[in-house]
């Protein structure tokens, strides 16, 4: 079922490609874990340390309010870090495609033409 033009297995086995996959996976796992911990600490703290939310910091403002509102800038920070990290991954991917595409899709103007496109999906491209 492999493509007529593209050797997907060779591309997948390419060391630079494997590095790219590893880089992205590590970024996603690290940021995902941090984000999950920060968000799900709300129900966890309510269940086990409810007094955390009642600590008064200023007139009309307690730690719970600050912590809940902080979810927004924290989410924004996670997104910003992800965009920065993936910008470098994009450059790696572009380099990789330039190296691999001519070799794997020689003579093919549309490297995406594959089993996926030539089979039941012929209509889809």
């Amino acid at each position: 079922m492999q493509s007529n033009h593209v050797d997907w297995l060779a591309m997948q086995a390419n060391e630079q490609f494997r590095g790219l996959v590893r880089h992205r996976r590590n970024t996603i796992v690290a940021l995902g874990l941090v984000a999950a911990l920060y968000y799900f600490s709300i129900p966890a703290l309510i269940a086990w340390f409810p007094s955390f939310f009642t600590l008064r910091l200023a007139p009309g403002i307690n730690l719970g309010l600050v912590f809940a509102v902080s979810q927004y800038p924290f989410g924004g920070l996670i997104a910003y870090v992800f965009l920065r990290r993936t910008a470098s991954i994009d450059r790696l991917a572009a380099d990789l495609l330039q190296q691999l595409a001519p070799a794997t899709a020689a003579g093919s103007a549309a490297p995406a033409v594959s089993a996926f496109d030539l089979g039941e999906h012929a209509h889809a491209r």
């Binding site: 984000a35 549309a110 012929a122």
Partner: protein, 617 residues
């Protein structure tokens, strides 16, 4: 076709406005100056219809209809995602919850924002790299084409309808309360507008409607925040301290926490536990929100409208910016409504608190019966109406694309249908989805359909997400696992809601009424005050009448006398079941096609290889 569409658009638009105006006869609406209200509503609707007219002239191919040609910029797409996602539940529902329950309403809202982290990290980029129009396209990349398309369409339609009907019903109830339009007419107006936007304008018009709505909603919320903070010189602690010291807030909290007095009651309003009393319920809700959003078909569909993965990522960033800003404004609006309007008035007009934001708008600019107050209320009501219509249009497009592209073109025609036939199929599917939504919404009059929102998220998180994530990231995933996971996840979530406390249990209501009769009977001999005795006797009579009206053997829709599962949000059970089903069935089956396509999928997922062809519709 374009001429017909334009003509239909003009006729329907005229009908919507004239029927609405004539139907606004009900007394007791919050807005008194109706002409003013309809002028504001008319302006908002007319501006979206003009855009739809121009958009309808550019819908030539299926790609135009489903994804606006795949060339929407990230900022515009991000705002459209915000417009698609910021539902009436967020603007009206969450501000009401904050006005009635303080901190717990905030927590409810935060989950809707946190949900975009998984969308950004796991879904946006691979979906753009691999998909074309629908969730079914991404799943069919590796899995069996026809069966995957059919099953994924089923869950997409269930999710879209489950989310859409409460929007239409809730919107109709609110519009009726605010401007006095009859419920059925209001549903018909929402339905007619969504059909005009989607059937005529496709994704282009839907995107513009969502962008306009997002800008209007964020702008209107910002104006309310400015007006609310103005008397406090924009000093946030002074505003919050005023809430703590507010006699209205303290009087509202007092019955919920009998042991506190004075400012302690005000502080209690800013602490957890007035609404979300069970942490396990909060965790389950959080899981469904955070994981469900990432597999909502109308959100996924928006990533196919941009040119590449980078644009998809930046779309999410823009969406988070818009949604985050709007949420922060909504938090202030909720607290301001508690301070300026007061929970008793808000709850007296709608026990769920859905009118908090419109009432605040009226209170901040002149109050009830003033022209300025009614103008502001009319503007906020029109924004709420646009909010509902924009969300419903996005959901209709997602459900229609699942039916037309996945079921008709994919599963029935094996993927081979001429371009013109695909566009016609998409328009017919839009009509079918719209008619189903309108009919069910009219039949649901007076019913509590709010639990359907939770069901929509639960199905998306339990059926769509496991199938999508494991197809994308797990080599051993098989077609059989995906099919069983989607069907099993959907059925589990639906069953858990059917046996949950969300349903009506007449036997429990009867038992509660009889207990009240008995309790009052025991108390009466010791009551000497005549007035209290009269009140208790009246209450006992009402409770007895309630009990008598319910047959002794009455049961819930599925024949239960009491809930089997004591969870309103089934996510914490149904999501692990969804993942387990895909994993276990995949481990015990073999799918050579899925294995063979794994290398291709990984390369495309990571690099966007071939995406130029993917957007060349």
């Amino acid at each position: 076709m374009r001429a017909k569409c334009s003509k239909a658009l003009v006729l329907l638009a005229g009908a919507v406005l004239s029927i609405s105006a004539r139907a606004a006869t009900q007394a007791g609406a919050v807005i008194q100056h109706r002409a003013l209200t309809f002028a504001v509503f008319g302006l908002v609707i007319a501006s979206t219809l003009v855009i739809t007219y121009f958009a309808s002239r550019r819908n030539r191919t299926a790609g135009d209809f489903y994804t606006a040609g795949g060339n929407i910029g990230p900022a515009k797409n991000g705002l459209a995602i915000a417009g698609d996602y910021l539902s009436a539940a967020a603007f009206l529902g969450a501000s009401g919850l904050i006005a009635l329950y303080g901190f717990d309403g905030m927590i409810y809202l935060v989950g809707f924002f946190a949900a975009f982290i998984p969308v950004l990290l796991l879904i946006a980029e691979p979906c753009r790299n691999l998909g074309r129009y629908t969730l079914g396209d991404v799943l069919a990349m590796r899995n069996s084409f026809r069966s995957t398309k059919a099953v994924s369409a089923l869950s997409s339609v269930v999710v879209a309808l489950a989310y859409m009907i409460p929007q239409v019903v809730g919107g109709a109830v609110i519009v009726r309360a605010l401007v006095g339009i009859d419920y059925t007419v209001s549903v018909l107006c929402v339905g007619a507008l969504m059909l005009i936007y989607v059937a005529c304008g496709g994704m282009r018009a839907t995107t513009w409607v969502q962008v306009i709505k997002a800008v209007l909603l964020i702008g209107a919320s910002f104006i309310l925040v400015v007006l609310a903070w103005l008397p406090f010189g924009f000093h946030v602690p002074a505003f919050m301290q005023a809430i703590v010291a507010s006699p209205m807030v303290q009087a509202h909290v007092a019955p919920m926490v009998t042991s506190l007095h004075g400012d302690a009651l005000g502080w209690r309003f800013l602490e957890p536990g007035l609404f979300l009393t069970k942490p396990i319920e909060l965790l389950s809700l959080g899981l469904a929100l955070v994981l469900g959003t990432a597999a909502m078909p109308h959100i996924l569909m928006r990533f196919f409208t941009v040119k590449d993965a980078r644009a998809a990522r930046h779309s999410v960033m823009w969406a988070m910016l818009g949604i985050g800003a709007c949420h922060l404004f909504i938090i202030v609006i909720g607290f301001a409504a508690a301070y300026y309007v007061g929970a008793p008035l808000i709850a007296s007009l709608d026990k769920g608190g859905n009118l908090a934001a419109p009432l605040l708008a009226q209170a901040l600019v002149g109050g009830r019966d003033s022209v300025a107050g009614d103008l502001m209320l009319a503007f906020i009501a029109a924004v709420a109406f646009a909010t509902i219509v924009a969300v419903v249009a996005g959901l209709t497009l997602a459900a229609a694309s699942a039916l037309a592209h996945d079921v008709y073109v994919g599963a029935m025609r094996g993927g081979n249908a001429p371009e013109r036939e695909q566009v016609i199929a998409a328009r017919i599917a839009t009509l079918i989805v719209g008619l189903i939504a309108i009919s069910v919404s009219i039949m649901a009059r007076g019913q509590n359909v709010a639990q359907l929102v939770g069901l929509g998220y639960a199905v998306a998180a339990s059926a769509n997400l496991p199938a999508l994530v494991l197809t994308l990231y797990w080599k051993r995933c098989t077609t059989q696992g995906v099919l069983v996971g989607i069907v099993g996840g959907t059925v589990t979530a639906v069953l858990l809601v059917l046996v949950s406390p969300n349903m009506t249990y007449p036997a429990m209501a009867r038992d509660a009424a009889l207990s009240r009769v008995s309790a009052i009977g025991q108390r009466l001999p010791s009551v000497s005050d005549a007035a209290l005795r009269t009140a208790l006797l009246a209450e006992q009579k009402t409770a007895q009448a309630t009990a008598d009206a319910i047959p002794a053997d009455a049961s819930s829709m599925v024949g239960l006398r009491a809930p089997l599962v004591n969870l309103r949000n089934p996510g914490i059970i149904s999501i692990p079941i969804g993942f387990l089903l895909v994993i276990l069935v995949s481990l015990f089956t073999r799918d050579r096609r899925a294995e063979a396509r794994w290398p291709e999928m990984v390369v495309r997922r990571e690099t966007g290889y071939g995406i130029a062809a993917a957007i060349d519709h």
